[in-house]
């Protein structure tokens, strides 16, 4: 991997994975993201909040780059693909459908998140295959929410994980992270309209933080 790459190779659950600073995890040409929350901007507009358009386009463009960068053979979204049924708003839906046709050959799959409940019909309409929660894939179990499901290492989203860093001079910083505990790895939220939930790691947790277009193994750097 070149030095200025936005990626970091690491091992979780004994498996070689790559963390991409664009909030994606890559394993054997399989791309994983979580919490895209498509339609959140549309929900805002429906509630008279004049939220600009453009967030959906930019999120889809980021997915394009990820697919290309990692020559992905499959994309899996770990829940909360849609923010609500407002993703069915005609323009948003049309965009998602067109985007899907530009990757017609790529299998795209999802596990259902709590936000997807009333929008699941959209997955079918767009052409996203639905997996059961806890779907077993090689060493992984694919879920939306963190759990200690046996029989594999859980990959999930839901939490929108972030951590706080402290420096001297009372400096502090909040960053989105991949949060990996024994048995479970939580991906950072992918969508542009999402916030952060701050977690405090315990000694056995691994934390890979996204700082702009770089990614850092925080536990390793703070131990050296």
């Amino acid at each position: 991997m070149p030095a200025d790459s936005p990626c970091l190779a690491a091992t979780i659950a004994g498996e070689p994975v790559v963390f991409d600073a664009d909030h994606a995890l890559v394993w054997h040409r399989q791309l994983f993201v979580a919490d895209t929350h498509f339609g959140k901007d549309a929900l805002g507009r429906a509630r008279d909040a004049a939220i600009p358009e453009g967030t959906t386009d930019s999120d889809l463009a980021r997915l394009d780059q990820l697919i290309e960068r990692h020559t992905a053979e499959q994309l899996t979204i770990l829940g909360d693909v849609f923010h609500s049924e407002h993703a069915a708003e005609p323009r948003t839906l049309a965009r998602l459908k067109i985007w899907r046709t530009t990757h017609a050959e790529l299998p795209i799959r999802m596990v259902a998140g709590n936000h997807d409940r009333r929008a699941l019909h959209l997955a079918e309409e767009i052409g996203i295959e639905r997996l059961d929660d806890g779907f077993a894939l090689g060493p992984w179990r694919l879920c939306h929410e963190p759990s200690d499901l046996p029989g594999g290492h859980v990959l999930c989203g839901h939490v929108h994980p972030g951590v706080r860093l402290r420096g001297t001079g009372r400096e502090s910083l909040r960053l989105p992270v991949f949060f990996s505990s024994p048995g479970c790895t939580i991906l950072p939220a992918f969508g542009a309209m999402t916030g952060l939930h701050i977690l405090r790691p315990r000694p056995l947790d691994q934390v890979f933080a996204v700082a702009g277009d770089r990614i850092f193994d925080l536990r390793r750097s703070s131990h050296t």
Binding site: R47, G195, P201, L218
Partner: protein
């Protein structure tokens, strides 16, 4: 005016044992001649009757049906008192006038009654007035209005609510030909400007004439400090000054009835608790009053003051205004009042008997507040009072107004533009700004151009109307400019409401935790949705809710008074009890470092375990210091990549960094320079993220996001979009949005006081700059040194910062 009417009025005054003041006659005559104006006086009563009697005289025993007078009051809590004050002469002289009130608290039933048959005089708030102006059915009622009174205009003047009032007045003037507008105000440093803002402009472009009437002569005011005993340790930076509790108790016992003013709601809670503990014999005779308490709790305190059944009420600025409480004979101010006008207003809450002296005893919260008290006494004696500067063209308020007018049945854009530009606030509105606001209000602006179904307005042959009733209804719920953070209602299990606290406070609590609120120790039972259920607890509270935005900055009048006092102290003049008492600490400051004179600019540098500190002391007030701190940090960080944490108070500010900052290089490169100031401030606030916070309020006022009310509110919260996230989205995807530009402008002008900042920089250049390396924290530095609430500013690459920093881990994690 018939002489018979004036005789009856004179008889009524005499019957109450009052005399008619010359200023009251002056208002009556001016009103009778058709004039509008502003009546101001520093303290004392008689303002209400001056304007009310003017309206009564005109149609004394024959008001006829319909609305004749509108009475706009800034606080809905005052509406009931005002209604009673207007009713008193009417019922005692048996006049056929009817008086009513319409505020956010008015029941649906009464709202309907008022809409069908409005009273002759209606007491209302700026927000409720706008709601009435948005109702097509009510609009015709405005045609008969002859007088609009804006009470406590000084309170509204420098705020967006003042702008909302100006816009509403322009509407009323357009509907009711010949209406007269009278403002009632405390005396300000800029009374003429206050009158001009209320009057606006005439269609020919000239300033509307306003008669300025000065009220009764100044009441005598005594300002003193409660000083600690000589032997007592005096806190350098402590926030509370509870050390002086025994002195306050002593003072309260000497008064018949007192108001104890604090500067923040948390302080009010803490002092109420401390005083209750210190005076068990006064159980049931102490009251608490602040803006987050429920109406019932506040009313009980007001009633207790009015009837004298309470001996003392601990209050925030929520009791600054309003009808006088006759029994109050003493006022205690906890902490510096931070401004001369506020001090005078609070002092004026006592001593209402004719010829009585208003007394205020100030309790310093830390050592240096003694200087502020001495300085405010100097200024009060000299008659120097702060101005309040009206706002210019806030586009968020304009957007809201456009929707209001559209809801009332629609408007023709050109006609409304002319009407809006008659106001003081929008007189210089540019055609571009107007066009942008109109497009935004009507269609959601650029962001929503592609979404015609979200347009709020429809064009009906050049006439812009709201698209449907649901939109109008939603808008009426959202009218107003006061923003509060998401708040959680606090209730007992039996349903009794105590008030509201901020969501962020409750979020930190767990069931079983105890906190101080509404003057009681409460135990949290559970939080469900937007309601916290509590029960009374006997234990010691572990927390007091903090409400945002509690801190008032030192006024620029007072800060110059403070510098003058310190300068004289340097020359050994300590000619007030406060300064005498300070002598020892000022000597410590002089020994460890320097005592800055009026012509000096003191800078102290200190290396500690926490890093490298630079303390700057311009003595210009918190707001200017916030701007200066961000600016200096930005300019220092331009010399070399650095990250600063900033602490600010009214006397100075601190920049703290992990490595030593290149101060000398930066000074040589023009740290205080005027060149590139605006760009540098903008650069620095982007990092400091002030604009993001401002944006929340602006977004809501403009209707960019609606917070919703009641059940609707819950669903809006599902959006869970923070203002900072929204600001980012706008910056990226709608860069031409003028509301984002307004957020920046508001930060520049009102938050950072750019104009004052520029003046301050000029002055700093002329002062003698003294840089002292200190070994120990000095008395001036101490409050900054211990300040935990900090801004940050960085010019380092994010990656470099991450490498330097440490991850915050779970505290007791052991596996």
């Amino acid at each position: 005016m018939s002489p018979e009417v004036d005789e009856r009025i004179a008889a009524w005054f005499a019957g109450r044992g009052w005399q008619i003041f010359p200023f009251q006659r002056e208002v009556w005559d001016a009103y009778a001649r058709g004039e509008s104006g502003l009546l101001h006086c520093s303290t004392g009563a008689g303002k209400t009757l001056a304007v009310w009697m003017a309206a009564l005289r005109e149609k004394f025993s024959d008001p006829g049906p319909g609305l004749r007078a509108l009475w706009v009051t800034p606080l809905r809590a005052l509406a009931a008192d005002t209604e009673a004050a207007l009713m008193a002469p009417v019922s005692e002289m048996r006049l056929p006038w009817t008086v009513g009130r319409r505020t956010g608290d008015t029941s649906t039933h009464n709202r309907k009654k008022i809409a069908l048959a409005p009273p002759n005089a209606l007491v209302t708030t700026p927000e409720s007035l706008c709601v009435l102006l948005s109702q097509p059915d009510f609009l015709p009622h405005f045609a008969s209005v002859r007088l609009v009174v804006v009470d406590e205009w000084h309170e509204l003047l420098a705020t967006k609510r003042g702008v909302l009032t100006e816009l509403a007045l322009a509407r009323v003037r357009a509907i009711a030909a010949g209406v007269r507008v009278w403002g009632l105000s405390a005396t300000l440093g800029n009374t003429d400007e206050a009158a001009a803002a209320l009057g606006g402009f005439l269609p020919d472009g000239s300033t509307a004439p306003m008669r300025i009437v000065s009220g009764a002569a100044r009441k005598q005011i005594e300002i003193e400090s409660l000083l600690p005993d000589e032997a007592q340790r005096f806190p350098w930076g402590g926030h509370l000054g509870l050390d002086l509790l025994p002195k306050v108790v002593e003072r309260l016992r000497a008064h018949k009835t007192s108001i104890v003013f604090t500067n923040t709601r948390s302080q009010a809670e803490l002092w109420f608790e401390a005083l209750s503990r210190a005076m068990p014999d006064w159980a049931g005779q102490l009251g608490l009053h602040h803006g987050s308490l429920s109406n019932d709790v506040r009313r009980a305190a007001e009633e207790g003051l009015r009837t004298g059944t309470l001996r003392a009420v601990i209050s925030t600025s929520s009791l600054d205004l309003g009808v006088d409480f006759a029994p109050v004979d003493g006022v205690v101010q906890i902490g510096s009042p931070k401004g001369v006008a506020r001090l005078l207003q609070r002092a004026g809450r006592s001593g209402h008997q004719p010829g009585a002296v208003s007394r205020i005893a100030c309790v310093p919260a830390n050592t240096f507040e003694l200087v502020e008290i001495a300085a405010s006494r100097d200024l009060a004696e000299e008659g120097v009072i702060e101005p309040r500067v009206p706002l210019r063209a806030p586009l968020d308020v304009l957007c809201q107004h456009l929707v209001t007018v559209a809801a009332s049945g629609g408007f023709h854009p050109e006609i409304l533009q002319n009407e809006v530009m008659l106001t003081h606030a929008y007189h210089t509105l540019s055609p571009d700004e107007w066009a942008w606001a109109l497009d935004f209000a009507a269609h959601g602006g650029r962001a929503l151009r592609a979404y015609p179904e979200y347009a709020r307005m429809v064009d009906d042959a050049g006439w812009l109307k709201l698209r449907d009733d649901a939109t109008a209804k939603r808008h009426r719920l959202a009218i107003g400019t006061i923003t509060s953070d998401a708040s959680i209602e606090v209730r007992f299990a039996n349903g009794a409401r105590l008030g509201a606290v901020e969501e962020s406070f409750v979020a930190r609590l767990r069931p079983g935790d105890r906190f101080l609120f509404a003057g009681r120790c409460l135990e949290l039972v559970r939080v469900r949705e937007l309601r916290a259920t509590v029960r009374a607890s006997r234990g010691r509270p572990t927390g007091v809710p903090r409400w945002m935005g509690g801190r008032m900055p030192l006024s620029s009048c007072l800060s110059s008074g403070v510098r003058r006092r310190l300068d004289r102290a340097r020359e050994g003049v300590l000619d007030s009890p406060e300064m005498e008492r300070l002598g020892r600490i000022l000597a410590v400051q002089a020994k460890l470092s320097r005592l800055p004179g009026e012509g000096d600019f003191l800078i102290e540098r200190l290396a500690s375990r926490e890093g490298h500190h630079i303390f700057f002391y311009p003595f210009e007030g918190r707001l200017v210091h916030e701007g200066l701190a961000a600016l200096f940090a930005f300019r220092l960080a331009r010399v070399e990549p650095l990250t600063f944490s900033l602490a600010v108070n009214d006397y100075g500010f601190e920049l703290l960094s992990a490595r030593e900052a290149p101060l000398d290089v930066a000074l040589a490169a023009g740290l205080f320079a005027d060149d590139g100031l605006t760009e540098d401030i903008l650069g620095s606030i982007h990092s400091a993220e002030l604009a993001k916070r401002r944006f929340r309020e602006i977004a809501r006022v403009a209707g960019l996001v609606t917070e919703g009310v009641g059940r609707a509110r819950k669903s809006t919260r599902q959006l869970m979009v923070s203002s900072s996230l929204l600001f980012d989205v706008f910056q990226r995807y709608d860069p031409e949005n003028l509301l984002a530009a307004q957020a920046t402008r508001e930060v520049l002008e009102s938050q950072l006081e750019q104009t004052r900042l520029r003046q301050t920089l000029g002055e700093l250049r002329s002062r003698r700059c003294e840089i002292i390396r200190i070994e120990e924290v000095t008395p001036l530095a101490y409050p900054l040194f211990v300040e935990r609430l900090r801004e940050r500013l960085s010019s380092e690459a994010l990656a470099d910062r991450v490498r330097r920093m440490e991850l915050v881990m779970e505290r007791h994690a052991r596996r």
